[in-house]
């Protein structure tokens, strides 16, 4: 592990230990392909376990994480890079790792990340999808569902409990005012309005 840290230092990269078996290195997009190649060919991280993508909408970029393993499989190294959200594009690594083909295909469909040189950027799970890629965070799934599918319309008699509480409290207040016992009743109601909402253990 110390060996790897020193090797990465030569490339002016820092390896951070996150958990017992988990390390992370952040890298710029330009360096990514060469770094992955050197992980594969020089450092001995020959297994690509997964490629993960995260949409940081607020910062305007995608964070891509490549998880690599040695043949000993005793720790994971996450190689992380971030790319622009607009016209997102990454070099395809399916020539180094055949399984990257399917992972990149999925990412292309779900996030709209382009992979120049990828042979099969076809549908993965969706069919005839014509909206923005669904796992982007600006895609509102509830809105989409409401546009497409009506729900069962028999639940319209549902009441808003907050409004009902208020109504009842006011009705009670009026009644109490009449009886001139306002103060005592109010104190009692106060305690009931804020029931503790802790997630409880099974006793």
């Amino acid at each position: 592990m110390i060996e790897l840290i020193s090797k990465l230092e030569k490339l002016s990269l820092e390896l951070v230990q996150k958990q017992d078996y988990l390390y992370k290195v952040e890298v710029k997009k330009e360096q990514l392909e060469s770094l992955l190649l050197s992980f594969l060919n020089e450092f001995g991280y020959i297994t690509l376990d997964s490629i993960n993508c995260r949409d940081d909408l607020e910062e305007g970029n995608f964070v891509i994480t490549y998880c690599l393993l040695t043949p000993k499989r005793d720790h994971v190294v996450m190689v992380q890079t971030s790319i622009e959200r607009e016209n997102a594009s990454l070099p395809s690594i399916h020539t180094f790792w055949p399984q990257a083909e399917i992972m990149e295909r999925e990412m292309h469909e779900m996030f709209g990340v382009d992979f120049p040189g990828h042979p099969t950027l076809i549908d993965f799970a969706l069919e005839y999808w014509d909206n923005i890629p669904p796992l982007r965070r600006d895609f509102d799934t509830l809105q989409y569902v409401n546009d497409m599918n009506p729900f069962r319309g028999q639940r319209d008699d549902a009441l808003d409990a907050k409004v009902e509480m208020k109504k009842k409290r006011e009705a009670k207040k009026a009644a109490k005012l009449k009886a001139e016992q306002e103060a005592a009743a109010k104190a009692e109601l106060e305690t009931q309005n804020n029931p503790s909402q802790e997630v409880q253990n099974e006793e």
Binding site: R152, N193, Q197
Partner: protein
């Protein structure tokens, strides 16, 4: 040509099962005991339900509606509402029973229902005190 005698003969031992008693539970004639902690259909003790809507709030499936019950209820009920559950949504995760402050909402071990009309799956939890107290 080596013949795998064991491979030919040992499967025949399965025929012995012919004389064993079948393991089948002949439901509906015989019903298997479902343990009391099973997460089945809901029961609600209307006498202690305070209508706080915690269950509605925690339910990720948007399955719980607060409605006025048609029978008398707890005087201390703050909103005058009790939960009604849409079984076209519920996933029996029992989060609603975990957060229930007065512990009035429970899950029963009754859990089978089939209906020919898909509109018939709004469920008003039964007011079943006796089982409610047994379920811990």
């Amino acid at each position: 040509m080596a013949i795998d005698v064991k491979g030919v003969l040992s499967p025949l031992s399965a025929i012995g099962t012919l004389f064993e008693h079948p393991k089948t539970i002949t439901y509906p004639a015989v019903k298997k005991d479902i343990p009391l902690g099973y997460r089945g259909f809901h029961i609600n003790n209307l006498e202690t339900c305070i209508g706080c809507a915690s269950c509605e709030e925690v339910c990720m499936n948007d399955a719980i509606d607060m409605v006025h019950p048609d029978i008398e209820y707890n005087i201390k009920n703050t909103s005058g509402c009790v939960p009604r559950i849409d079984y076209g949504r519920c996933c029996w995760c029992s989060l609603c029973t975990d957060v229930c402050p007065p512990d009035s909402l429970k899950l029963d071990n009754i859990c089978t229902h089939a209906d020919s009309n898909p509109d018939n799956f709004l469920y008003m939890p039964k007011n079943h005190k006796s089982i409610g107290e047994e379920v811990s």
